[in-house]
C-alpha cells in the first residue's frame, strides 16, 4: 500500500461559535485504500467530510483532495469525488432510474453511456427490479442502496461515504461490504467511510482513524493500533475493544 496521497489536511479546523467541531486535523489518505473514520456521535466526522467537499468552509487550516483545495476549487474536486451524505435524499416523485439519470446528466455523462452505467449499478446494488418504482415508495435500505449507485455512477476516483450501511439488512450489508471491497481492489477507487459499525469497518478497512471531540486520537492499520493499545501477543482482538479503550481514555 504505497500509492499517492489523495487526501491531505493541514491543521484543518472548524469552529461553530465557541464549539470546535474539528480541531487541527492532520490526516493523509493514500490512493486505493479503504479508510474507516470512527468516532462517537458529534465527534466531527460529518463536518470533516463536508470540508473535504467544499460544502462548508474550514475556520482555519487547509485540505487537499485529489490535489485541489476544496474551498477554492470545489468544481475540480466534485468532478472526481463522490459523496454519499448521511440520510441521503431523493426526488421522491421520480423513479430510481430517473434519479440516477438526473445525477448522470449533472455530471455530463452522455445519454448512451449513462443508460449503460445506470443498468450496471442498479444491478450491482440489487435494485434492477425496482428501477421503475417511484423512490418515494422505497424502504430505507433501498434508498441507501440507490444512494450508493448514485455516487458511483460518475465513476469517481475517491468516494466519501457517511454511514453507508445504515439501514441495510444483514444480507444487504454483506453485499454492500463486498461491493465496497471490490471497488477498492478492482477499480482502485479510494474509499473513505465513516461508520459506527465497528465489525464491518474491521472487515473491510485497511486503516482506521478514531476521532473524539474533534481530535484525531488514533490513526493506523487496525493491527498496529491493537498492538499499541492492547499489548503485544494479543491475537483475537476486535476493533471494538480498541475503540472503547481510546474512548475511555479521552
Amino acid at each position: 500500500m504505497k500509492g499517492q496521497i489523495i487526501v491531505e489536511t493541514e491543521d484543518l479546523t472548524k469552529k461553530y461559535g465557541s464549539r470546535t467541531a474539528v480541531d487541527h486535523l492532520n490526516i493523509k489518505i493514500e490512493e486505493g485504500e479503504v479508510f474507516g473514520f470512527l468516532g462517537p456521535n458529534g465527534a466531527g466526522k460529518t463536518t470533516t467530510l463536508l470540508m473535504f467537499l467544499g460544502l462548508t468552509e474550514p475556520t482555519s487550516g487547509r485540505a487537499k483532495v485529489i490535489g485541489f483545495d476544496p474551498t477554492r476549487e470545489p468544481f475540480k474536486v466534485k468532478e472526481k469525488v463522490g459523496y454519499l451524505p448521511e440520510n441521503v435524499g431523493f426526488y421522491d416523485d421520480m423513479d430510481a432510474r430517473q434519479n440516477l439519470r438526473y445525477i448522470a446528466k449533472l455530471n455530463r455523462i452522455s445519454g448512451g453511456v449513462s443508460e449503460k452505467r445506470i443498468d450496471y449499478w442498479l444491478e450491482m446494488v440489487g435494485l434492477s427490479e425496482e428501477s421503475t418504482k417511484k423512490v418515494g415508495t422505497f424502504s430505507k435500505g433501498m434508498r441507501q442502496r440507490l444512494g450508493i449507485a448514485e455516487v458511483l455512477i460518475k465513476e469517481p476516483k475517491l468516494v466519501f461515504l457517511d454511514e453507508p450501511t445504515i439501514g441495510l439488512d444483514p444480507d444487504g450489508t454483506n453485499r454492500m461490504l463486498d461491493l465496497i471491497h471490490s471497488l477498492s481492489r478492482e477499480k482502485n477507487i479510494t474509499l473513505f467511510l465513516s461508520s459506527h459499525l465497528l465489525d464491518q469497518v474491521q472487515r473491510i478497512c485497511d486503516r482506521v482513524g478514531i476521532m473524539i471531540n474533534g481530535n484525531l486520537v488514533a490513526i493506523g492499520p487496525i493491527d498496529e493500533l491493537a498492538k499499541k493499545k492492547l499489548g503485544l501477543g494479543k491475537e483475537d482482538y476486535t476493533l471494538e475493544e480498541i475503540y472503547m479503550k481510546y474512548f475511555k481514555e479521552a
Binding site: T56, V88, L106
Partner: protein, 321 residues
C-alpha cells in the same frame, strides 16, 4: 452553463407536473375570461352608435367593468404568483435532503439558483402570454375590433414589464427560500414584504412628506410651493416601492390618453371614454421613454435581490439533518 440547462429542464418538468401550476393557470384563465367577457360586453354597449375611439383594443385590458380590470388583477395577483412559484424552491430540496447531493455534483452553486429562477420566469412568461392571447382572442370576437400595430406593441411592452415585475417577486421568494429553512417561514416573509410595499410605503410616503413639507393652512391659503414640495417628496418616496414603479409603468404604456402617471384605479370607464374623445394619445415612443427608468429600476432591484441571494447561498453550509 451545462448545469443550468440540466436543472432548468428538470425544474420545468416539475412545474408542469405540479398541481400548483395547474391551479394557478386555471385561476388566471378563469379570471381572465370572466373579466374579458364583462368588459367586452360593457364596451360593446358603450360603443353603440358612436365613433370608435383610438386604441380601443387596450380598453379590454384596462377597463374595470363591474369588477376590476385585467391589468389591476395582474398588478395585485402578479406578486403572489411570483411568490407562489419560488417560496420553497431551495428549502424544499433542503428538507428532502437532495440539496446536499445537488451541491456535491460538479456544477456551480449559482447555477442552481439561476436555473430555478429562469424556470420560474419561463413559467410566468408562458402564463402571461397565454392569458393575454386568450383575452385578445375573446376580445376580438366580442368587440369586433382588430388591434393595430401600436396596440400590439403596447401589449408586448406591457407583458415584458409585467414579466420583469413578477420576476422580481420570484427573486424575493427564492431569496427567502435560501435564507429560511422552512417553506412556511419563507412564504410568510415574502408576503410580509409584499404587504409592506403595498400598504406601508404609501403610508410612509405621506407621513414623510407631511413631516418634511407640512401643508399649513394660513390665512392666505395654502402655500403653493410647499404643496409642490409635499407632492414631490410623496412621489419620490413611493417610487421606492416596486408596486408604484410597476403601476406607473403599465399605466403609461396601456393608457396613453393620460398625460400623468396616476394609477388606473382612480378613473372610471366613462371618464376614460370622454377623455379619449377630447385628447390625443401619447405617442408610443414617448410612452417608452417615460417607462424606461421604471424598467431599469425594477431590473436593478431584482439584481440586488440576486446579489444577496448569491452572497448567502454561496458560502452556506449544506448538511443533511
Amino acid at each position: 452553463m451545462h448545469g443550468i440547462l440540466t436543472i432548468f429542464r428538470k425544474e420545468m418538468g416539475d412545474h408542469f407536473n405540479s398541481l400548483r401550476f395547474l391551479l394557478i393557470s386555471a385561476l388566471i384563465v378563469m379570471v381572465g375570461v370572466i373579466i374579458t367577457s364583462m368588459v367586452g360586453m360593457a364596451i360593446q354597449e358603450e360603443l353603440k352608435g358612436m365613433a370608435k375611439p383610438s386604441l380601443i383594443f387596450l380598453l379590454l385590458f384596462t377597463s374595470t367593468g363591474k369588477l376590476f380590470s385585467f391589468v389591476q388583477f395582474i398588478g395585485f395577483f402578479g406578486p403572489l404568483l411570483g411568490i407562489f412559484l419560488g417560496f420553497d424552491s431551495i428549502n424544499r430540496e433542503r428538507v428532502s435532503r437532495t440539496l446536499s447531493k445537488l451541491v456535491s455534483q460538479p456544477i456551480f452553486r449559482d447555477s442552481i439558483i439561476n436555473a430555478k429562477f429562469l424556470s420560474g420566469v419561463a413559467i410566468i412568461a408562458i402564463i402571461l402570454v397565454a392569458t393575454v392571447l386568450l383575452i385578445s382572442g375573446l376580445g376580438i370576437r366580442l368587440v369586433g375590433v382588430v388591434p393595430g400595430v401600436e396596440e400590439v406593441s403596447r401589449l408586448v411592452i406591457y407583458v415584458v414589464i409585467s414579466l420583469l415585475y413578477i420576476s422580481f417577486w420570484l427573486g424575493i421568494s427564492i431569496l427567502f427560500s435560501v435564507i429560511f429553512k422552512s417553506a412556511a417561514t419563507s412564504a410568510l416573509a415574502s408576503l410580509a414584504i409584499w404587504i409592506f410595499f403595498s400598504f406601508f410605503v404609501s403610508l410612509g410616503a405621506s407621513v414623510l412628506s407631511d413631516a418634511v413639507a407640512p401643508i399649513s393652512q394660513t390665512a392666505s391659503g395654502v402655500d403653493p410651493e410647499m404643496l409642490i414640495r409635499h407632492e414631490r417628496i410623496q412621489r419620490l418616496t413611493s417610487l421606492v416601492s416596486p408596486m408604484t414603479l410597476y403601476s406607473e409603468a403599465t399605466t403609461t404604456i396601456l393608457d396613453p390618453m393620460r398625460k400623468t402617471t396616476r394609477t388606473l384605479i382612480l378613473m372610471g370607464p366613462l371618464e376614460r371614454f370622454s377623455m379619449s374623445r377630447f385628447q390625443s394619445p401619447l405617442p408610443l415612443l414617448e410612452s417608452i421613454f417615460i417607462v424606461i427608468p421604471h424598467i431599469i429600476s425594477i431590473v436593478a432591484i431584482t439584481l440586488l435581490c440576486f446579489g444577496i441571494c448569491y452572497l448567502v447561498f454561496m458560502r452556506q453550509e449544506i448538511r443533511t439533518v
